[in-house]
Subunit: 331 residues, 4 copies
């Protein structure tokens, strides 16, 4: 029988997941809730899901799993309520911006034995999955150094920045998770620098828009992350992993393979510039992995613990940025 | 209201189109027919389309358009029957292997004023569409020379070859259409060579598996085509167009952007090696273009005439191969 | 002891070879002759070579080998004179534009047992040498099809065209030699088309500036050549060889590996656009190979026969172009 | 008149420079000195330079400029002696491993008004020069972030490591200079991490073989450097610069452009794996720039100050590595 989903939050990312569920055999979207009736109605219309309240979805017998895509400050409450209601849970990152709250939430999840997956979608990008697969296949030997480039195509409005928790918690958190995923060993120390070079308003809002981070593990592995809130040439998402036997890297994606050559040179098009088009396949794979793990009764990855770890790295990076020193990561 | 399709032929390519219709907003598959009941049943199950006979679909009031994906020798009959039944028609290439039969069929279509699109899917590949768009935008000036590389990943069985009409009519026909599409001027002469280098059984069956073709237009434009029935590294599909101001080319596609570097060098993965994965987007775009043209009451492209032209080039290439001389193409 | 060279012809290509000799350990340029005293003086000044007459060089005891870089119509006479004078001979392509004259010349060379290398420099390009080496190493299995792209950056003046022997003899002759070099089997038939698309003056002078050629061997191997007298993006020199196990290709060369990315896309620089910069290393390797073969007393490659074969292909292509049919190559 | 060079130190790098002088019009190597007579003799033989003592060269009237390629611990003394002898000075990096000694040495140079260039050869690599040129041309707007990848193909022997001054002073020093060169603003703070992952003997010798560094400038620009003493795929030398309008990067170099495709994928060859082949052109350009600046009476770049700055960054990185904190760079 198909796995029946309830969607909590019908905003932009909610639509992405609703579409992924619709396109996945063995999955069905039966209900959707949102504070904005028209947002819920929009998804209802395209998917056939019923508009309900959050509580109705939580208590529904015809809902096996919930997709939590509400605003961040509701995530932890929603997770706890769903865990108590014995639903399987997929929640967008982060669990919460406050790590103590995350810990309490994960305690509840553990107590209720609720299956929980955190939406670090990039782990499911076909390119990055293949990088991980090549490492697992031993093609580069033991992992030594990881280099992640992650640059948004355009900065968010300063208003968004103000309530985002800061660039490290909002944007780099994906890279922290990716670093741990690729290193195969939890980073124990972090050093971070950052500047506001792209948009002075972001600086005025107390945040940075350009940053560089170094993570190290106990055994001496090193990961570096380069971030910017702006890349005129598209959404720049690359990884490179060096091992004892070689190197593996994944390059950016474009809409086509076309190149024009003339007296000015050879010109390829800019990169896919939006996370939804860049990571279309990742979002689909993510939902499929959630269903597969649930069907098989296997542990979920990325887990709530993975979410907590990434946030711990982000918090430590914030402190490092503030104090100009390497900081121990407190998981 | 959605455009209602009937599918005639539930084989491999029938499934591709059924899937494309299912994924296209504004389109619905309502009926499917096939000589093999289980083939029709398979598509019925996945799509909800009703299994019917061909005649039932042709006469159905709830069917606006037919997708003809039967064996080639039925195409012309199906087109004529559908034209008389006032259906819009999408037919896989070729209309028929006998050009006289194609002409009679197109006469019927013209008489009945039936909308007809021929399934030269490659025109709808995002890469090749973009090449055409760059030409139209004037980025390379006036087109002078076209170079098409089209190599299958593996040869078909000799049994298939025997009833295929020969490589030029079966495989190169796509490249003939692409050449005309890119040259923007109909080729008037063709020269072709061919050999059986890949599989001796293909040679014994009287066909070739490796070939090279030169087309020329009245104004002196030149297109060259390189074909093989085998490419160990995947399905090799490239085009390159030279103009007075520059060059535009479209490269092959891979599943990922991953590359591994070690002491043996830098290694990217082989190409996508199957036409269905390579041209997934092309098949979807093709159906969307059919619906769009129908909605707008605009002429269809590629038209029946385009199908006839490609076959005329293939026939002339067969004659050229046989006689070792350049042959005038008889449209 | 160093091999002592005399240079006959101090034009553009003469300077290239003079430079190559100067840069080659074990080689020394001792004399130079040219009808234009200032041309000879220029090379004398930069190299220390003595200015002499052709006859003085031919008869000199301190000259072991001659480099013939005179105008084409003197090549055959120079070769014969040098052969009789017991010099080792390096001669720029072609031996002559008249194949009967080439045959007589090669008879003389054979009779005198003179070592003779013809300057098909591209065989010594590091990229193309590596392609040949990969074939020899069995990396692509048995060679089946060769594709050569050879496009000049800008057309020569019509005045040059008039006395060039035609594009096939002047420009494509390099590609004919390369095709034979890569096929590993002499082509037996040729088909050629051509147009004047680049410069109407070239058409008025009775020549073509754009062309496409198909060569076939007895065993059914196929080579195709695409030529143009103009490529706005640089000097386009690529080869691609398909075999039973795979494919090997060599791409173009640029001055740097730099790429700029911005909102308009990713832009690499145009290609090296001049044969002297593109083939700098090939010219050096060519002279080194000449010296090495001479030292070892081994046969020279490309030989006078190779020169004759390439001209035979060009002549057959001229006839094919004229008569619109495939032509047997008369070696 | 040609600029007359004396070479002090006839080791590996001395030979490189001797070759560069020989190949440069307007330059002449007249004398060579080395503690090992056979080393000096070797260069004397190939270049025609006279073998002399260091003092003889310093005092020679026929020597305009000295190339200092002795062991590092002699550099500062040689520079001072040459400055007093009124020679123009080209010295390999670093001036000294002790920054106080460097300062005293540069004071002497300043007092004597001696022209001094430090051999940061990478600034003269055609690729990296072009990156700088594109920045200067405004193609990427204001520089914001620099990313340098610099990985040796194989680790040096532990014995070398012991007297190298440590990886940051020996290897990364090139990257420190490159970072300053590309940022266009001196870094003021540095943070560095490092591990011994490649060769345990290097760790036992008290050094690291893998490292990552972040530099920041007063205005908030950021540079990151990734180093390893081993890259199985060749000598990995890449730079990437991000600006307000776009990005420019320079990729690695290979001996050829050849790629083989088969069922295992597409394979390019490993990188050039030796600094002498990778930077051949850089060494030639460097000497040419020295001569040009001297002729024009213009300031030398990279200057003694540039050498001091790079060492100051390396020293600060050593301290950062030791203390796990960001360190102010003391120029």
């Amino acid at each position: 029988m198909a796995l029946r989903f309830g969607l909590l939050g019908a905003g932009r990312i909610g639509k992405v997941h609703a579409g992924a569920v619709a396109a996945t055999p063995g999955a069905e979207l039966v209900a959707v809730a949102d504070a904005l009736p028209e947002a819920a109605a929009f998804i209802s219309k395209s998917s056939g899901a019923e508009v309900r309240t959050i509580d109705e979805i939580m208590n529904a017998k015809d809902v096996d799993a919930v997709l939590i895509t509400t605003p961040t400050d509701m995530h932890a409450d929603m997770i706890e309520q769903a865990a108590r209601a014995k639903k399987a849970i997929f929640c967008e990152k982060p669990v919460d911006l406050d790590i103590a709250r995350v810990r309490r939430c994960l305690d509840t999840v553990a107590r209720e034995k609720a299956p929980l997956m955190i939406g670090f979608n990039r782990r499911f990008d076909p390119n990055f999955m293949e990088v991980r697969a090549r490492i697992d296949a031993g093609q580069i030997g033991a992992v030594e150094m990881v280099s992640i480039t992650s640059r948004d195509s355009a900065p968010p409005p300063a208003s968004y920045v103000a309530r985002s928790g800061g660039m490290f918690r909002d944007m780099t958190i994906h890279d922290f998770d990716m670093a741990a995923f690729l290193l195969g060993e939890d980073p124990v120390k972090v050093f971070a620098v950052g500047s506001s070079l792209v948009d002075p308003e972001i600086g005025k809002a107390g945040d940075i828009d350009s940053g560089s981070v170094i993570l190290t593990t106990k055994s001496g592995k090193i990961a570096q992350i380069s971030n910017s809130r702006r890349a005129t040439y598209g959404y720049d998402q690359r990884i490179e992993v060096h091992g004892s036997k070689g190197m593996v890297h994944a390059e950016n994606m474009r809409a086509t393979t076309v190149e024009v050559a003339d007296a000015q040179g050879y010109r390829r098009e800019p990169l896919l510039d939006f996370f939804m088009t860049r990571y279309t396949q990742a979002y689909a794979n993510e939902i499929a992995a959630f269903i597969k793990a649930l069907d098989a009764g296997k542990p979920m990855h990325p887990s709530g613990e993975d979410g907590l770890k990434a946030l711990a790295m982000a918090d430590a990076a914030m402190l490092s940025l503030k104090e100009g020193r390497q900081v121990d990561i407190a998981y």
